[in-house]
């Protein structure tokens, strides 16, 4: 059984947020929801200011507070380390969301009005131009069941009133692909792989770089390692906070 982890090399990140876009397109998250988010942070007083960037996926904690508090076991941790939400069991109490100190959970407040995929089939102009080659607007991989448990866990918005969050792109990982954010980063900030395998890219990275984990003193034991950088402090101010819609 692999032990999945992610490394994020902060010395490489330039805050372009391509990972956020890749995540939205891959997972079809509703407007205003960011399963991957990149903080653009500023510290110091002008002219002595410094910019840093901090990508924030779900930390897939080993001691995940969200898993502990879920009253029905919809939020669970797989043996390979992925922390996932069973959309068919979730009752929408949002306890995972308030328990998580990282703010990675996004509730489906309503059925989405605006998906990230084009609704090709609905658009007359697109239909006309594409003739019969009408691709599905919904990624069929999201409807498959994954892992030994065969639970419905991939992608966003299967139902209104349930919780969603970063899945490490379980539907891609199960095919041997990298999560969308990892695959789409132009400067290879992210590595994703098996900690058990000493030759995996994450194992290599962890051997050679200084590292920290986010909010380490809360005791959540994240599976996401930040390399070559410093954790955010109270001195950091957020620039360009992305708000977007409110879950529409």
């Amino acid at each position: 059984m692999p032990k999945y982890a992610m490394t994020i090399d902060l010395s490489r990140c330039m805050g372009c947020r391509a990972c956020m876009v890749a995540c939205k397109v891959e997972n079809n998250t509703p407007e205003g929801q960011f399963w991957m988010y990149v903080f653009r942070l500023e510290e110091g007083e002008f002219p002595e200011t410094r910019l840093t960037f901090l990508p924030r996926p779900c930390q897939h904690c080993d001691n995940a507070p969200c898993v502990k508090v879920c009253p029905v076991g919809a939020r669970y941790k797989r043996e390979d380390g992925l922390v996932l939400t069973d959309f068919q069991r979730c009752i929408g109490c949002r306890y995972c969301e308030v328990a998580c100190p990282y703010g990675v959970n996004y509730f489906h407040w309503q059925s989405p009005k605006k998906g990230q995929y084009l609704k090709w089939g609905d658009d007359a102009e697109v239909r006309e131009r594409a003739e019969r080659e009408v691709p599905p607007w919904h990624n069929p991989d999201h409807d498959k069941r994954y892992g030994e448990e065969r639970r419905l866990t991939a992608g966003a918005v299967h139902y209104k009133g349930v919780m969603g969050k970063c899945t490490f792109c379980v539907h891609r990982v199960e095919k041997g692909l990298e999560p969308a954010c990892v695959a789409n980063c132009p400067v290879r900030v992210f590595e994703f792989g098996d900690l058990e395998d000493p030759n995996s890219s994450v194992s290599h990275k962890l051997r050679e770089a200084t590292r920290f984990r986010l909010l380490e003193d809360v005791g959540t034991e994240p599976r996401v390692y930040y390399l070559n950088g410093q954790p955010p402090t109270g001195e950091h101010r957020q620039l360009d906070a992305v708000k977007g819609g409110k879950g529409e």
């Binding site: 205003g32 929801q33 960011f34 988010y37 903080f39 942070l41 924030r56 507070p65 502990k68 508090v69 879920c70 009253p71 029905v72 076991g73 919809a74 069991r89 979730c90 009752i91 929408g92 109490c93 949002r94 306890y95 969301e97 308030v98 328990a99 998580c100 100190p101 990282y102 703010g103 990675v104 959970n105 996004y106 509730f107 489906h108 407040w109 309503q110 059925s111 139902y159 209104k160 009133g161 349930v162 919780m163 986010l214 909010l215 809360v218 005791g219 959540t220 955010p232 109270g234 950091h236 101010r237 957020q238 906070a241 992305v242 708000k243 977007g244 409110k246 879950g247 529409e248």
Partner: protein, 429 residues
């Protein structure tokens, strides 16, 4: 009024005056408004509420609903605690309010459960999954599964047993509800042996429910107190604090309810007098003092030794956005305690003053419940997110007021069907 001439009708059963009709109609109308509001939420999702994700979306995922889950379940403290006081400590002055206190427990537990359902994104699934996949490791288990399956069930059994004697007495008189009373009495004939057996069973049940009471209110506190990554919540004082504030609001509620019963049913006035209110006042006052002390220690600990985010939250409570709620609650509670102290020192208790205490402590309890839930979500982030905002919408407010009216409606209608004050020891006909 001589003992012989008294009929059980005098205890308010079956007597519908214009005031009762008007109250019923108004309450029912408010319940309907609440139901319409809920239908909006059920159809469109919780987008119709003021709740939003915390973090990048800058909202609070828990708000009015969870505040009132805590408040309603807190009020339920009253019934069983009073029953236990009467049974275990033999405080007879509280006996006339036992029935309405137990009724209040049952009603408020059900309202608490409804508030949980109002909060759920998938309420229908919640009803099945909370039991089917119950995880005792989750503190939420205590607030719903344990409360519903254990606390409410035990309270219903207690309520039923404690009412059998009155049901038997009521069944002796011809009325339209005779069959209902006979069903409730279920063969009970008020013989000496039966009375002794009931006394013993109720005693044991009261003893058994007491730990359930502490557990239920503690787990409610643990829902917040165990969240290590949430400044303002993570505290060992949450669970005992919830138990004590539950006691304050529950006992205060009983004082208000007893006064309403006196107002609606003049015959109850001789049964529920100053001695009863005096005891309610003393208990409310003592628990109120304990809670003020808890608050002081809590603020002192977080403000003196807490990390940066913890101190920021204390500042917000004392001086910032949430100061009106914090100080409003403190002032209301302090006023109630002061009223109690003044009466205690003078050695004279008045019903009006105890009712005022009851209203004040419930204002304090609601204020406290609002600031326990929201500030830690809008301003309690350990990562550099923007601060959040939460303003409830009309849907949330209508649902909560609708639930309150539903509770009042059930109590009002029940008081017309069954003696809300236990009948005298010596039956008459």
């Amino acid at each position: 009024m001589s003992v012989q001439s008294r009929s059980y009708r005098d205890i308010g059963v079956g007597r519908w005056g214009p005031l009762s009709f008007l109250s019923t109609a108004v309450l029912a109308a408010v319940v309907v408004v609440g139901a319409v509001a809920y239908s909006r939420q059920f159809i469109h999702g919780e987008i119709v509420t003021g709740l939003r994700d915390w973090g990048t979306a800058g909202g609070a995922p828990w708000g009015l609903y969870i505040s009132f889950v805590v408040y309603f379940i807190g009020v339920s403290f009253a019934g069983i605690s009073i029953a236990a006081l009467v049974r275990l400590l033999r405080i007879t002055a509280l006996e006339p309010v036992t029935r309405m206190a137990e009724l209040l427990t049952i009603v408020s537990l059900v309202l608490g459960a409804f508030s949980v359902l109002a909060d759920l994104g998938q309420p229908l699934r919640g009803i099945t999954n909370l039991f089917r996949y119950a995880r005792p490791q989750s503190p939420f288990f205590g607030t719903f599964s344990l409360v519903m399956a254990g606390y409410l069930f035990a309270s219903l059994v207690y309520f039923y047993l404690a009412g059998r004697r009155d049901a038997y007495l009521m069944a002796q008189q011809p009325s339209r509800l005779q069959a209902f009373y006979r069903w409730w009495a279920a063969g009970y004939r008020d013989s000496a042996a039966e009375r002794a057996r009931h006394e013993r069973t109720s005693f044991l049940l009261a003893v058994a429910i007491l730990p359930l009471l502490v557990t239920a209110h503690s787990t409610l506190g643990l829902v917040f107190g165990l969240m290590g990554g949430r400044p303002g919540w993570f505290s060992a004082l949450q669970a005992p604090g919830f138990v004590v504030l539950a006691g304050v609001s529950g006992l205060g509620h009983i004082a208000v309810l007893a006064a309403l019963v006196r107002w609606f049913i003049p015959e109850a006035r001789e049964r529920i007098g100053v001695p009863t209110f005096r005891l309610l006042g003393i208990f409310t006052m003592v628990l109120g003092m304990v809670y003020l002390y808890f608050t002081l220690i809590e603020v002192l600990t977080a403000g003196y030794a807490g990390h940066a985010q913890e101190q920021e939250l204390v500042r917000l409570l004392l001086l910032g956005t949430y100061a009106p709620y914090f100080w409003g609650g403190i002032v209301a509670l302090a006023l109630a305690v002061g009223l109690g102290l003044a009466q205690g020192l003078r050695g004279r208790w008045s019903i009006g003053a105890v009712v005022a205490m009851g209203i004040l402590v419930n204002i304090a309890a609601i204020a406290k419940r609002l600031i326990i839930v929201t500030p830690s979500l809008t301003h309690g982030s350990l990562l550099p997110y923007e601060d959040g905002v939460y303003v409830p919408t009309w849907v949330e407010v209508a649902i909560i007021i609708g639930l309150m009216s539903l509770g009042a409606l059930v109590i009002l209608v029940f008081s017309k069907l069954f003696p809300v004050v236990p009948l005298d020891s010596e039956p008459t006909s």
